[in-house]
Symmetry: D3
């Protein structure tokens, strides 16, 4: 159970419905996932977060699959179960192979390990990295 109700299509106000429709059109699916249905309790925040997400995750200097894998990595580091599941599914839908997933996981694990070692050691930043 979420801490707020999940808003169904029937209960959606026109402005919420417009965001749901844009999610459907952008993702070419009829499915609107629980995150947006929870966010729909605050239409203004829903609209603002969706607009930014749509702008950020589209094609650009980085391709959408790379962005989706970065999203998985941040979500894992932040311990967000929902986000790991939803963005891993999204990455697969965008073409992430099992081998790519395996390497993504290995990098996440290695980064977490060296992050922890660096912090426990309090290693000073090399001056050349600050240039």
């Amino acid at each position: 159970m979420a801490t707020v109700p999940l808003i169904s299509d029937e209960d959606a106000s026109p402005e919420v419905r417009a965001v749901f429709d844009d999610i459907r059109a952008t993702r070419q699916t009829d499915y609107v996932n629980n995150f947006w249905r929870a966010m729909a309790n605050e239409p203004e925040t829903l609209q603002a977060v969706w607009a930014r997400l749509k702008a950020i995750m589209g094609p650009g200097a980085l391709d959408p699959l790379v962005k989706e894998m970065i999203y998985v990595a941040v979500s894992a580091a932040n311990g967000c179960e929902y986000c790991v599941h939803s963005h891993t599914a999204a990455a697969r839908a965008k073409g992430m192979s099992d081998d790519m997933h395996g390497e993504l996981l290995a990098v996440i694990g290695m980064a977490a390990q060296t992050n922890a070692l660096v912090t426990a050691l309090q290693v000073p930043v090399d001056p050349r990295f600050k240039a």
Copy 2:
């Protein structure tokens, strides 16, 4: 100041020196950064961590630049100052442009925001994401 001494080339044992030499050869640079010099207080851990990092970060199903950007993302999420600096520098050395960096940052920020919203809302995972 680190919580351990940084081991110079002069103070390095032969096994540590061998790792330093492999770092230099692999990265085609004469510079060995502070993380490895701190790790060198424990030669076995140094050797094991370097061997895994080298294996993981090389070419594979994901290219090295993508892996480096994922490393930056995890390091930022984990709040590791040293790691953000060193892996941002490494990503630039591997070809990350300003535009790519800008998009990487935007994804990191957006993921952190939706991770926090999902956690604060305790959104239940959609069954289809678990399939």
Copy 3:
């Protein structure tokens, strides 16, 4: 399942029972929630944590509802599912409206985003903020 048994009223020692009674009296409810029943395996820690929580969360320079919303915010940032649920319920019981909840969530999400951006950018603290 917790990693320890949850202590029922029947299994509670007199000192644990005294804490349970004070929780009931302070909160004007007959219900003692699972956190305290898990903590009750260590009566001394139970007593100390409850005494501090009671002292801190009461009226003062900040009102109890504000404190409860701050508690939700920290719990979300720390990824604690139980704590998000229990303190969101407590905030509602103390008068948090849907609009207040919506704004609380928006601040949590925005703070997480700018925290991540600042860390990924390693922005130096402005001297005036340290004065």
Copy 4:
């Protein structure tokens, strides 16, 4: 040193300059802090983040000082040095007294303690908190 240059007024493009001007007008100060100068390397992200921050942090169901203290709490939980300094300064500017600050700190510490205990105990959520 940040991982990007801090953009001065002289180097700001017209769109960046417009955001800087709105920050000055909104906050009634001539000072634009380092976070925005770092963000200015990506004018679109700068504009979007500033617009949301301005909308979220203004008066509403919660007053701006309460929002600022929630921001400090999230920033501390996320370990963001810059953000703790800048939002503590902002909270003071909005009227946070020493006593309020002391209580804010006590709540942050207590929440972090019980978050950790709950996680280490893996306490199951009480059904009534999910209703």
Copy 5:
């Protein structure tokens, strides 16, 4: 559900099977837990992580029970539900008494509290701690 299949003994390749056998022999149990069955999708990572874990967690300057309790502490701080459960069980199997568990929990909670207070206060490191 994990984001990858859990590999059964029947589906295990010979190299995966060899790791499973070594886990069984080292731990003197027939049971191979879900973490390794998930990791088995990437045999090379499985092998590398198991080899390091086995080397690190054995007897040395610290005894295995102390190491296991440190593992619980890190897992709790990182909010890893699975890891808290599995390493608490492992610590119990290695001799952790209820009293030791209680003290472990108290230290974890106290450390989380003072970590948060220090971060919220931005206390400067005493020069003598850096010597």
Copy 6:
């Protein structure tokens, strides 16, 4: 710079002075470190945190050095620079050898790595770990 003044002996109220004196007596040193001087702005919190820390960190089912190493592990996982420095120094003062420190670091790094892998994989908890 901390976000509050550090209270010197001269500026300490009698109740703060009493805590400082107890810190000196308990630790058999004349030195009162910055954390307590920052906390001294809130005498009641100072007194409560010190009393609990003193009770928790003393001898018991776990010895004080083991507790101190657990404290370092939590502090590293939480990314607290001050706490890593102060508790590493405290652990050394209580007898932590270089070999013990090296093993502590290796466990911290390994735990962080498997925590991240488990979270990225969303491994379900084995039923036997919940028993």
